[in-house]
Symmetry: C2
Subunit: 275 residues, 2 copies
């Protein structure tokens, strides 16, 4: 390996030009002295060139899961009348690009305001099943898909966030195509298989799971099996993600501005990928 | 400077041990060849050891600016009855730890959903006036305070977010002390002076400004002068920030999970400092 003094001289050169602000001195010190004690692991986001917005604009025209109502946005104050403009907003927690906290399905599970903040900044793994989903709306993310991702990119790291990309966000402007119901009313939308959800919940130390559809579970899945596995293991979910096609399979960092209202089972998020 | 080959060998060494995942190869390449063309500036968050949550739990007990109502959280679905638990939430946009978009005060100003995503990841400058505010609730962030910060930490960088810390978040559990009204009903709360707001709005290329109070303007300030200067210049505001005492004056990165509802003048955010 390079001598610490070389590393240090490189660090100085880079820092002087302001390029290496990405790595704190502590990071370099740790790198230069691999045996040095470290109180907690450094969790460094990659340097990034772009902020990809993974969030759909929250509007009454978005598709919503049956049972829920579209968001209502009502103007209450106007500049001519009040000197400022402001709305009142009413939403069902599980609409828009939104989070599912464990308590959504698990009695005594964590509410949104109790999830530790550091679980909202995570290495982002994107598993794309888009080509398959284009042909088969009932396709699932399987344990084999996860194994294939790990074979190419390495084991899912502790603290990672795993997103399914099936291309559904391209349907966002057409709620009928998004919900994709058959004559009997059953939705046909991809999701995580029970086996894949169980693997992620029990075999990997991830913080959460996301989808570009409106449910972790496939439209035709029975009994919310993926939700129960994942939320039951204390993971959170994020549904209706946007723009995953603009994010690489590995290497990005997701930051999820999760809701923090008291006792919430979920709620709209603002999610970014630092790419 | 070090030869690119040395930089590259250091990069390989560090990467191999996983410490330098903070810096993408592109960043190192740019550093090694300072004259190389660069399509856009690298905006790299510092390596960080902690995620500080700058967000208060959004509850009906938080202080609210006069005119607005506390958030309402109503249980609509329960696990025993529906198989899942979910609430409906109604809020006035300018309650909780929240954003002010330019349109809040400026006709035709940007709405929350139109602010580019990359303006929500920013170098965080914290200007503390806490010692003064402890003695004088009407104290203001002045242009001199900004000059003193810049003398110590360097010129506010393009794309920075500037937060006033006056210690008001310690009063969050006591709305009367937070609003701090006198017998005539006038609030006594620190804020940005008109001069400081004008300087930040016109002389520095910042993205936004935050406070740990409920207004960019001081409680006793006339006519929303700081709001008009800052929002008029296309900056956004974030109010009711928490935990700024845990963030250094310079060097942290703020990520603001801003609201994205259609046409919003503002709304609850989730804000983190990567420290």
């Amino acid at each position: 390996m390079c001598a610490p003094v070389v590393v240090e001289s490189v660090r100085r050169e880079l820092s002087r030009r302001g390029f290496l602000t990405a790595v704190g001195a502590a990071g370099i010190a740790a790198a230069a002295a691999p045996g040095a004690a470290q109180e907690k692991p450094l969790r460094l986001p990659k340097g990034f060139r772009d902020v990809v917005d993974l969030t759909h604009t929250f509007s009454p025209r978005l598709p919503v899961f049956p049972s829920f109502s579209p968001v209502r946005i009502r103007q209450r104050f106007t500049i001519p009348k009040d000197g400022f403009f402001a709305n009142e907003v009413t939403f069902d927690e599980h609409t828009g690009t939104h989070m599912d906290a464990p308590v959504h399905f698990i009695a005594n599970g964590s509410t949104v305001d109790r999830i530790p903040a550091d679980r909202f900044v995570a290495p982002l793994a994107v598993i794309s099943i888009e080509p398959r989903a284009a042909k088969d709306a009932d396709t699932l993310v399987t344990a084999d898909d996860i194994a294939a991702w790990e074979k190419r990119w390495g084991r899912l790291s502790a603290g990672a966030f795993v997103a399914m990309h099936c291309g559904w966000d391209a349907r966002i402007g057409a709620p009928d195509r998004f919900l994709n119901r058959d004559a009997k009313g059953t939705m046909h939308i991809p999701g995580f298989s029970e086996e894949a959800a169980r693997f992620l919940a029990r075999q990997r130390d991830i913080v959460g799971v996301g989808v570009d559809t409106l449910s972790l579970d496939a439209g035709a899945a029975p009994k919310f099996v993926a939700h129960l596995e994942l939320l039951g293991a204390g993971k959170y979910g994020v549904e209706l993600l946007a723009n995953l096609a603009r994010v690489p399979p590995a290497g990005a960092t997701i930051v999820i501005g999760g809701p923090k209202h008291e006792g919430g089972s979920g709620g709209p998020v603002r999610a970014f990928a630092l790419v």
